[in-house]
Amino acid sequence: MQHTLIALVENKPGVLTRIASLFQRRSFNIDSLTVGRTDNPAISRITIVIDAKNNNAERLTTYLDNLINTVCVEDVTGSAIVSRDLAMVKVNVSPANRSEVIQLVDVFRARIIDVANDSLLIEITGSEEKIEGFIEVLKPFGIIEMVRSGVIAMGRGPDSLGKNTNFMYVNNNGNGIKKKGG
């Protein structure tokens, strides 16, 4: 079963390696992993989708939390979240079927971001299901190339991840400025 974990980690060199290394040695399979900065320059946010049985996901959450650089981790599987993925798909088109492809782009609320003689480069954001559905309908036309960013996720409602965590805002020189919560 797929589990989605969100983690806030310190923005320090090597943190991503630590996390990847943890997965490898605990034998967990990563379906997708994204990491990016947040509004707090000292903190990065990681979204991980793994394939795990229930108990294993709980173990993994604990191991992730144990890492010194991890500020907080939450398994948001099954809770009220919004998750998004972004894909760029370069699809084969001919004069005959070009308009059909353009119609599909409209239906899926995707965007054409590059046009060439025999191809269209399409950008699409949405849930995993939407993206997978779009790729399925494009396949018969011939997909030349594609790339996906990986899933990012956030809880619905007013609360933030790590809201109950008391962590400090630390810049890279190690000078601390106290700041509560998320």
Partner: protein
């Protein structure tokens, strides 16, 4: 404010962490570190192999409760530490390792003696660092010691490039609070969790406490004793829990697990409540997990959240410091009379005396005799350090200790060669305590070069090498499960007595039980370290034994002896 370079800053910080002795081996990439060491009041113990140095720092930490420190150079020096780091990691001991590294501008170019030590040791350290800016060094060292000694202790490694070691800055010790937002070593305990535990304990008829390493790490020995005495619950120990309660305490059942005593394992399988304190249900202790303690409710208290509900699903798991928890429980649990259960266990115990080889005269010299006799003659405060294998199990079974922190053994990783260097580290930590190292001929040969460290450092320990000409524990498995195919297990040894003498130490050889006492007294009274080689029965086995896949009470027992 002083003008100091990285190497000096390193020692300034280490001194302020209370370190007085270190175990270090120089090399190209850490000469500046050694150069400035002479400016500071720290004793350097030089091993003969970095692995020895790592085990020494580990043994030092185990005997003293302080953080051990080991220093090595880059490349091969660092990789030689790996086994020692993993040993400390799996047994949760605080050791900080400093490795030299090539200059920052050379990192990643396959420079001479360059290795990605941080990458190599990432899975076997609690945390590790590569210092790229000398201004970070003070903070990193303070964090490293904090991480090593707090929560669940563990090894931390700091990789220090040579250019950082020689770079000079204006330095002042910064002791502002350590900021590790992702590190929460302790959590508060909720009232309802305590109430639930009290309730489960009061209702139990046949409870057993499983006490492990956590009791010692938390210094909760007297809390455990008070608690167990009030509720009258018998205590079974893991290998690393030995010593948390005196061997002769009436509630101490002894060691459990694969080579635990038969009555202990049986009691656990028949219990209706298990209270697991600071232990992690390692596979050496549980036997087949599917059939482990089938009728028992289980309470698990440990400081490491990752151990709870990992191997064994329990009814109540609590992340907490043991000492604190036991003190909270003490006034709330009921005094109980569980004499029926305790007598029942004692009755199972009775039949074992017959099978125990230590009670039998024999022409051959048995390890059980050797260890029992040494144990009787050893100082009550003595520390015993084991190597790994049959020698380790026999020592756990027969070397009875009354005091905590007096039994040192590589449990989690089971590292052969651990014994001698760890004993050296323990002696450096406790110079006035009698130290015994018990090893087999296999493990001893792995790190015997450290005998010279004893000589150079003028350290006195007593070494007992149980020589049976085999890798005993593997041979035992081959005998019981592989049709006696002794592949790779017979091994020859040098003349250990001559080896000891070649190192300028004393060597004695014993072949008969009657000669044990004389040899031990001679060793204890000698000024220098003494190695006693015991030529023991070649195919003796450690009993009882829970084979892999068997339930904990389905033990292979020693065939009954004819008196």
């Amino acid at each position: 404010m002083k003008k100091l370079n990285g190497a000096q800053i390193m020692w300034e910080c280490i001194i302020r962490e209370g370190v007085t002795e270190i175990f270090g081996y120089p090399g190209g990439a850490n000469i500046p570190i050694f150069h400035h060491l002479s400016e500071y009041p720290i004793r350097l113990v030089l091993p003969r192999h970095e692995q020895g140095g790592a085990h020494m720092a580990d043994g030092y930490a185990r005997a003293s409760g302080k953080v051990g420190v080991a220093v090595a150079t880059s490349g091969p020096g660092a990789t030689n530490l790996v086994t020692g780091i993993a040993t400390a990691m799996l047994d949760s001991y605080p050791v900080v390792f400093f490795t030299g590294q090539v200059s920052t501008n050379l990192i990643g170019y396959d420079a001479f003696q360059e290795v990605d030590v941080v990458g190599v040791t990432m899975p076997i350290t609690k945390h590790n660092y590569l210092v790229t800016d000398v201004k970070d060094l003070t903070r990193i060292i303070r964090e490293a010691f904090h991480i090593a000694r707090s929560g669940r202790p563990g090894p931390v490694l700091i990789d220090l490039p040579k250019d950082v070691q020689v770079e000079t800055i204006n330095w002042e010790y910064d002791d502002s609070p350590i900021q590790l937002p992702g590190y929460k070593p302790t959590l508060p305990i909720k009232d309802q969790e305590i109430d639930q535990i009290v309730d489960m304990i009061n209702k139990a008829k046949n409870p057993v406490i499983l006490a492990g390493h956590g009791v010692l790490l938390s210094h909760a020995m007297s809390d455990l004793k008070d608690f167990a005495e009030k509720c009258q619950i018998p205590i079974a120990l893991t290998l690393l829990g030995i010593g948390c309660i005196p061997a002769t305490h009436p509630l101490n059942l002894g060691m459990m697990g694969m080579h635990g005593e038969a009555w202990v394992n049986q009691a656990i399988q028949e219990a209706d409540l298990l209270v697991a304190l600071g232990m992690r249900f390692d596979d050496r202790v549980t036997g087949n997990l599917k059939t482990f303690a089938p009728g028992a409710k289980k309470i698990h208290i440990d400081i490491a959240q990752s151990e709870l509900n990992k191997n064994v699903k329990v009814d109540l798991a609590l992340v907490a410091d043991l000492g604190k928890t036991l003190r909270l429980l003490q006034p709330l649990v009921e005094s109980a009379d569980r004499s029926e259960w305790i007598d029942y266990i004692h009755n199972i115990r009775k039949d074992t005396g017959k099978r125990d080889i230590k009670n039998h005269q024999s022409e051959k010299l048995h390890a059980a005799h050797v260890i029992t006799d040494i144990s009787k003659l050893a100082d009550p405060d003595a520390i015993v350090v084991t190597d790994v294998g049959q020698n380790q199990m026999w020592t756990a079974q027969y070397f009875s200790r009354e005091k905590p922190f007096s039994f040192i053994s590589s449990g989690g990783l089971g590292t052969m060669g651990f014994g001698l260097p760890a004993a050296i580290g323990a002696k450096v930590a406790c110079p006035d305590v009698e130290v015994w190292c018990i090893a087999g001929d296999g493990g001893f040969q792995m790190t015997q070069a450290e005998l010279q460290t004893l000589k150079q450092e003028n350290l006195k320990i007593n070494i007992a090498v149980l020589n049976n000409g085999y890798l005993g524990m593997v041979r035992q498995w081959q005998e019981l499960f592989f049709a006696k195919n002794y592949s790779g297990t017979p091994l020859t040894s040098p003349d250990f007595v001559k080896i000891a003498e070649a190192h300028g130490l004393k060597g004695i050889r014993v072949t008969k039980r009657v000669d044990i006492e004389k040899a031990v007294l001679e060793a204890q009274n000698s000024e220098e370290s003494v190695l006693i080689e015991f030529l023991i029965d070649k195919e003796d086995n450690v009993y009882p034994m829970v084979p892999t896949g068997a339930a904990l009470d389905k033990m292979i027992r020693r065939p009954e002896m004819v008196p």
